[in-house]
């Protein structure tokens, strides 16, 4: 917990409510720069809510800051435009409402970095059209979409649309990337491709947080595990929480500390470890 100021995402006493009922409450933690953090937890534990809060889309109580070097800012007091430059998000909902081409959709990733309305243009470093295009084409190539460059995004498969959103964030090129189940619609090959890309991004100094359901995917690529646990059946320390919506805890572990005991605490079911011939470990839910 050293280097308190420099953490890209820091939160304390974080509380988020949906329609009056708290979903997350009293969370403390930080995401360190240059790491790939896997956000895991059972359905309804608040993974998407936490990511959406990080992205500044939800109102919250407590403190949530984005920090880069000595510059630390509270998310609720940061404009959408600045957030667009600092945080890139691949949402869970991948369907697109308008028939843009893949190129035009990904090009919109450059929007926060460009002069928005005509007046604001002067404030930003000038890039020529061809430099912008190079960034956009590069993002499209990294998401393996070159063969779909001028296809209508509303007619892509869910997996392709998900990669269009990833390419948009790559074109946006923010220091923090938040991904909500980025492989939910991807085949095993594309999943591996996307996660090694996320690994590369983290190694190059970006801060990446990805909500995942596949624990073994997290083990293979992530450095840090941020787990939202199942609410405990007979209530927990937070006694003022209404019983119909008890709130779980947050566990932060280095990926090496993960074992079946931790997994059972998170998901509430026993896990069985498997070891491959090469010595790699994986876990599956133990069959009863």
């Amino acid at each position: 917990m050293q280097n308190l100021m420099g953490d890209p995402i820091r939160f304390s006493q974080l509380e988020v409510s949906y329609g009056g009922a708290p979903v997350l409450s009293g969370f403390h933690g930080a995401v360190r720069s240059g790491t790939l953090t896997a956000l895991i937890g059972p359905n309804g534990s608040g993974k998407s809510t936490l990511l959406r809060t990080f992205a500044g889309l939800l109102p919250y109580k407590g403190s949530l800051t984005l920090g880069f070097g000595s510059e630390v800012r509270e998310v609720s007091r940061t404009t959408r435009r600045e957030l667009g430059r600092l945080v890139g998000v691949v949402p869970q909902q991948v369907r697109m409402a308008a028939p843009f081409t893949v190129y035009d959709a990904v090009a919109l990733g450059r929007l926060p970095c460009r002069g928005a309305a005509l007046l604001e243009r002067a404030a930003l470093p000038e890039r020529t059209g061809s430099e912008e295009d190079r960034l956009i084409l590069d993002a499209i190539a990294r998401a393996d979409l070159e063969h779909l460059l001028f296809r209508d995004v509303t007619r892509l498969s869910a997996g392709e649309a998900q990669r269009v959103l990833l390419a948009t964030v790559l074109a946006q090129d923010p220091p923090v990337l938040l991904l909500d189940e980025p492989s939910s619609a991807l085949d095993p090959h594309q999943t591996a491709r996307v996660f090694s890309l996320l690994r590369q991004l983290a190694d190059s100094g970006k801060t990446v947080v990805a909500a995942v359901h596949d624990v073994n995917l997290a083990v293979a690529y992530a450095d840090v595990l941020l787990a939202l646990t199942r609410p405990e059946p007979n209530g927990n320390a937070l006694s003022d929480v209404p019983p119909e919506r008890p709130i779980g805890n947050m566990i932060e572990k280095s990926i090496k500390e993960l074992d079946e005991e931790v997994l059972e605490r998170i998901y509430g079911v026993p896990f069985e470890p498997y070891v491959s011939r090469k010595g790699k470990k994986a876990w599956h839910v133990r069959e009863s």
């Binding site: 404009t79 435009r81 667009g84 949402p91 909902q93 308008a98 035009d104 919109l108 926060p112 309305a117």
Partner: protein, 339 residues
């Protein structure tokens, strides 16, 4: 390098397509303008029309009946139809983009019902200024819709629902006024249909002013509109303050629509059909779409006005609805086959 050349080829093809469409549109615009200025109960040859439109026309010639017909009757009517049609179409583009609802049109936020109620009240109460009454009605409806939507969270769904509620309420009010209006019933019905006949130069220039005030800001924020139109929260994630953009642009566009409705009545279907007609040709990017929608909507409305006049001065709203309805169905069927 190869990728870059593929991209520049694509962009060149797109530019070419847009230029060809713009050239076609320009020819249509010129022909429509000539038709509307030269033809009528009193045909005037085009060469004479040009001479009469010259700003250096002598004082004596300005007073000739010929000059008055062209300069004070036909020209304002043409300008009114072009400006109103353009404004309604561009407003349709903005609303469909912001609410990403393909059925959104300039009247979605209660403008038409508000204006109709204000105007009908004006007629029923023998109020001499129907146009300001209609404009005030439209503003009150717009304000109520925005207030309800803002209080309940300001999302798109809330806006559309608030619009539906206010529309239904005020439409019932119009029906009530018609029921008790007796002798003024005919005037109300005719006014509700919309017409450009007898448009004054002031009213037509006013519509152009309103169009500039609503279409130009929408064009300036065209890229933000693109981001927002991609889907829920997409604009926010790309650095757009969606709620402010939505409220700002919707207010401007609705004020423009209210000005049109107040002056010329309710001209339906233009704002719904033109954006759908253009998207397959121009694509979904809002900046070109807004420009082309403005001019296409203007030309089509001027044509519809011409048709309305040749059919014995029908209300132009009837013509746009009679042509626009089946045409919209045809567009829907064609798109259904395409996918």
């Amino acid at each position: 390098m190869q990728r870059a050349s593929v991209l520049s080829d694509y962009k060149a093809a797109r530019r070419g397509r847009r230029l060809r469409f713009a050239a076609t549109l320009f020819c249509v615009l010129v022909s429509v303008a000539l038709w509307r200025l030269a033809q009528g109960d009193w045909p005037i040859p085009p060469s004479r029309v040009f001479a009469l439109l010259s700003p250096f026309l002598s004082e004596a010639e300005r007073m000739t009946p010929e000059a008055i017909v062209v300069r004070s009757v036909r020209l304002p009517r043409l300008l009114a139809a072009l400006g109103a049609g353009g404004l309604l179409s561009a407003a349709g583009v903005v609303l469909q983009g912001l609410l990403f609802n393909p059925l959104a049109e300039p009247y979605t936020l209660g403008i038409a019902a508000g204006a109709a109620f204000g105007g009908a009240l004006g007629f029923a109460a023998h109020f001499p200024w129907v146009t300001p009454a209609a404009f005030a009605g439209a503003l009150i409806a717009l304000w109520s819709v925005q207030a309800i939507a803002w209080r309940s969270g300001g999302s798109r769904a809330h806006l559309v629902l608030a619009g539906i509620v206010v529309n239904a309420f005020l439409s019932a009010g119009v029906t009530f006024l018609k029921a008790i209006a007796d002798d003024r019933l005919g005037a109300i019905v005719l006014w509700l249909m919309g017409s450009f006949s007898g448009a004054s130069l002031g009213a037509s220039l006013g519509v152009w002013g309103a169009a500039a005030l609503s279409v130009l800001p929408a064009w300036a924020y065209g890229r933000q509109l693109d981001a927002v139109s991609l889907g829920e929260d997409r604009g926010s994630l790309l650095g757009v303050d969606e709620r402010r953009l939505r409220m700002g642009l919707l207010c401007l566009v609705s004020l423009g629509t209210a000005a049109t409705v107040g002056s010329f009545g309710i001209i339906g279907f233009v704002g719904l059909v033109v954006p759908h007609l253009l998207r397959p040709i121009i694509g979904p990017l809002h900046r070109p779409l807004l420009l082309f929608a403005f001019w296409t909507g203007g030309c089509l409305t001027a044509l519809a006005d011409g048709a309305a006049q040749s059919l014995g001065e029908l209300p132009v709203g009837v013509v746009t609805a009679l042509i626009g309805g089946p045409f919209f169905c045809w567009l829907l069927l064609r798109q259904g086959r395409g996918s």
